[in-house]
């Protein structure tokens, strides 16, 4: 329905504008403004300490031949490829298991949510200890089983899977809550009907739960993907991109360029490349959603 001109400026509408104005202002000042600035800065050489100097496409050209950038790009994609399915499956299992209304269920759900509200620094330090090759819990368990100890975070092949495990431990609780809400919206009658049709648990899950949960799953996958492409905090605290750049991700490389090496222009190009990556992956997901997301 199209609103008439008088409706758009009615007293009620104006109250509405007034109420949303703080958010809109915040959005303009803290989001749209910096985004526009980043476009300009990406065409400049800008150290923060001196005024920006226009250099055209030089930063974009440099990006194409920067080995560290491409390594960070591959690492980020690898992190995303592991993190998105792993976290979604763990969150789905948790949500399904904690759906039942049993005694003390809210306490159990809360306990899974605690890592979500903990700071990345605290979580990273905790896991840093668990992964410690000499005194850590994992190697203690390996040694007690007579197996050789591993250098979890110092092994180039293990470091990203180790970071993914921590990220899932911290983030799965949040996704579990979203999926739980989705699961609770599925009418119970559909399961009853499925039982009458002699569907087993797997068939119920495959043909009732999954299709009806697909819009929520789609949301969860999109959010998880955003998190993984923007991963920074845990890498910064736990590995600083090491060993030998094996865990250098785009977020950390952007940070180093912008705030350690005084290269704000180049960092802006990296930021735009991250935006492009997200746009492409999200685009693919939106394009393919018709095949598996059922909104009715």
């Amino acid at each position: 329905m199209r609103l008439s001109k008088s409706n758009v400026w009615s007293s009620e509408a104006r109250w509405g504008y007034l109420m949303v104005s703080p958010y809109i202002l915040g959005m303009i000042v803290f989001v749209i403004g910096p985004v526009i600035a980043a476009v300009f800065i990406s065409f400049t050489q800008y150290s923060i300490l001196a005024p920006p100097k226009w250099i055209g496409l030089a930063n974009y050209k440099e990006l194409m031949s920067d080995d560290t950038y491409w390594q960070a790009f591959r690492n980020t994609l690898y992190f995303t490829a592991l993190f998105v399915p792993f976290q979604t499956i763990v969150a789905l299992i948790l949500a399904s298991a904690l759906k039942r209304a049993i005694r003390g269920i809210s306490w159990i759900r809360t306990s899974f949510f605690i890592p979500v509200v903990s700071s990345w620094v605290a979580v990273s330090l905790l896991w840093y200890w668990i992964y410690n090759p000499k005194f850590g819990l994992f190697n203690y368990l390996l040694r007690s089983m007579g197996l050789p100890a591993l250098g979890w975070l110092s092994d180039e092949k293990l470091v990203i899977p180790c970071l993914v495990l921590v990220a899932v431990w911290k983030g799965a609780g949040y996704m579990m809550v979203i999926l739980l809400a989705g699961l609770k919206n599925i009418p119970e009658q559909l399961y009853e009907a499925a039982v009458i049709d002699s569907a087993n648990k797997w068939q119920q899950f495959r043909h009732v739960t999954l299709p009806l949960l697909s819009p929520t799953l789609f949301l969860v996958i999109i959010i998880t993907m955003l998190w993984s492409v923007n991963a920074f905090d845990q890498v910064y605290v736990m590995t600083q991109g090491g060993p030998n750049k094996a865990s250098m991700v785009l977020g950390l490389y952007l940070y180093n360029n912008a705030f350690v090496w005084y290269r704000m222009g180049y960092a802006s190009v990296i930021a735009w490349s991250m935006f492009a990556i997200l746009l492409v992956i999200s685009g693919i997901q939106f394009a393919t959603q018709k095949r598996w997301v059922h909104y009715n």
């Binding site: 007293s11 109250w15 050489q45 150290s47 923060i48 090759p133 000499k134 060993p243 090496w261 005084y262």
Partner: protein
């Protein structure tokens, strides 16, 4: 209709409120400006400090300064180290930086070469005698211009654990030690204390740290990093390759130093000496704080001589003045720097044991040399000053040193040879230097 009028009245009230707040703010700004002009110059002084005693002492010194200079009012901005420099960058970008701030010595060229700092040479020559202060020329560029005045010095020495030396029945290091002596002692000090074959005490340590590791070792071998103009990499030379090989051997062949993975598992290189995981380590003066906090029985000596002699990394953390501040504020800021460098404030600051005093008289007096807490051989720091080198610090120092460390990492992990490492480091560092040279044009 009534509702519409009420709604308009609401807007009118909000508008009036904004006008009133605006007028009050303007009046207040006007008043403070008049007050400033008539009586005091207010300067903003920024510094990083550890909470507790350092912050208290600094506040006391500021109070003493204001008593001596009633015409200057000091407003402070204090934060922990990391936050301080992050905030500072944005403040500089917005032209809102403090009028005077304490800079880590290695950051001075990055700010000076980008036109952020005021040159101090004329004021130093007008008001002070250079010979009265230590490392006063450490922030002098190739044109002889000085951009910062030292606040406290950090000089590299060899820290050694006396208890572990006694247990191994070894004589303590002396100033005549060479790198060979260091290696011999390190071999005897490396052992498995638990007796299970796993080494849990190392003789020495090298790693990716710049000041306490690869920079001094390369210089001890007579190796080069940058040329005198600090624009050309000279890393790919036989002495540097030898130094890289020496560091790799300490870890992978002689096994007297922990691997990079072991350093991480022991809680980073800063914890190695305080936790007694290593018996000897290179460290700046500030490392004594952690060693004292963990009650290690230790002392210090000058770093050993290598085939290339003795070159000692030294950093002068320094006061700098913001180039965009008004001349009055800059002059007031200079008064603070002069005051801080004076004998009395330096005596007060020296007691904290955070840094070597920059006032020569205080540094060579009992006020510093006689501080009762370890290290007792504080003279080693002062003796090392004659070999002091400011580590090829330039405007892109953080980036080129990161590039070098990144190239060195595979070698220390035993995955690349010294020659390939030097060639790669040379190429990567030169790329950084060239890009920075382009930026400066």
């Amino acid at each position: 209709m009534l509702e519409r009028i009420k709604f308009h009245l609401f807007y009118v009230r909000i508008f009036m409120l904004i006008i009133v707040i605006g007028m009050i703010s303007v009046m207040q700004m006007g008043c403070s400006k008049t007050e400033e002009k008539s009586s005091k110059t207010t300067i903003v002084l920024g510094y990083y400090a550890l909470p507790g005693d350092p912050e208290k002492v600094m506040k006391q010194l500021i109070a003493d300064f204001q008593v001596k200079h009633p015409d200057i009012q000091v407003v402070t901005q204090v934060s922990p180290y990391e936050e301080f420099f992050q905030k500072l960058k944005t403040q500089v970008a917005a032209n809102k930086a403090p009028d005077v701030w304490l800079s880590d010595g290695v950051f001075v060229p990055a700010y000076a070469e980008r036109g952020v700092l005021k040159e101090l040479t004329p004021w130093i020559d007008r008001d002070l005698q250079r010979k009265d202060y230590l490392m006063v020329e450490s922030h002098m560029d190739n044109d002889g211009k000085i951009w910062a005045f030292p606040q406290g010095l950090q000089v590299l020495v060899l820290y050694y654990n006396k208890k572990l030396f006694d247990e191994a029945k070894l004589a303590y290091p002396t100033k005549d030690w060479t790198l060979d002596d260091l290696l011999k002692a390190a071999k005897k000090l490396t052992k498995s204390k638990k007796g299970n074959g796993q080494i849990d005490q190392y003789g020495f340590t090298v790693g990716l740290e710049i000041t306490g590791s690869w920079y001094p070792v390369i210089k001890q071998f007579g190796g080069m990093l940058l040329d005198k103009t600090l624009t050309k990499s000279e890393i790919n030379n036989p002495q540097t390759i030898q130094a890289i090989q020496y560091m790799c051997d300490l870890i992978n062949k002689e096994k007297v130093a922990p691997s990079l993975a072991d350093i991480t598992s022991l809680g980073l290189s800063t914890n190695l000496f305080p936790s007694q995981a290593v018996a000897m380590q290179y460290g700046l003066y500030g490392r004594s704080i952690a060693a004292n906090n963990s009650h290690v029985d230790y002392d210090v000596e000058m770093i050993p001589k290598g085939p290339g002699g003795r070159v000692v990394p030294a950093i002068a953390n320094a006061w700098v003045i913001f180039n965009k501040s008004s001349p009055e504020k800059q002059a007031a800021a200079w008064e603070w720097i002069k005051f801080y460098s004076g004998k009395e404030p330096q005596l007060t600051w020296a007691k904290l044991g955070e840094a070597i005093p920059i006032n020569r008289e205080v540094a060579y007096s009992d006020a510093f040399l006689g501080i009762p807490t370890p290290p007792h051989n504080r003279k080693a720091f002062l003796d090392s000053l004659q070999y002091a080198h400011t580590m090829d610090v330039n405007g892109c120092w953080e980036e080129w040193t990161d590039a070098f460390s990144a190239a060195l990492e595979p070698a220390l992990n035993g995955k690349a040879d010294a020659k390939t490492t030097a060639a790669l480091a040379d190429k990567n560092v030169q790329e950084v230097l060239d890009r920075y040279a382009k930026e400066r044009k």
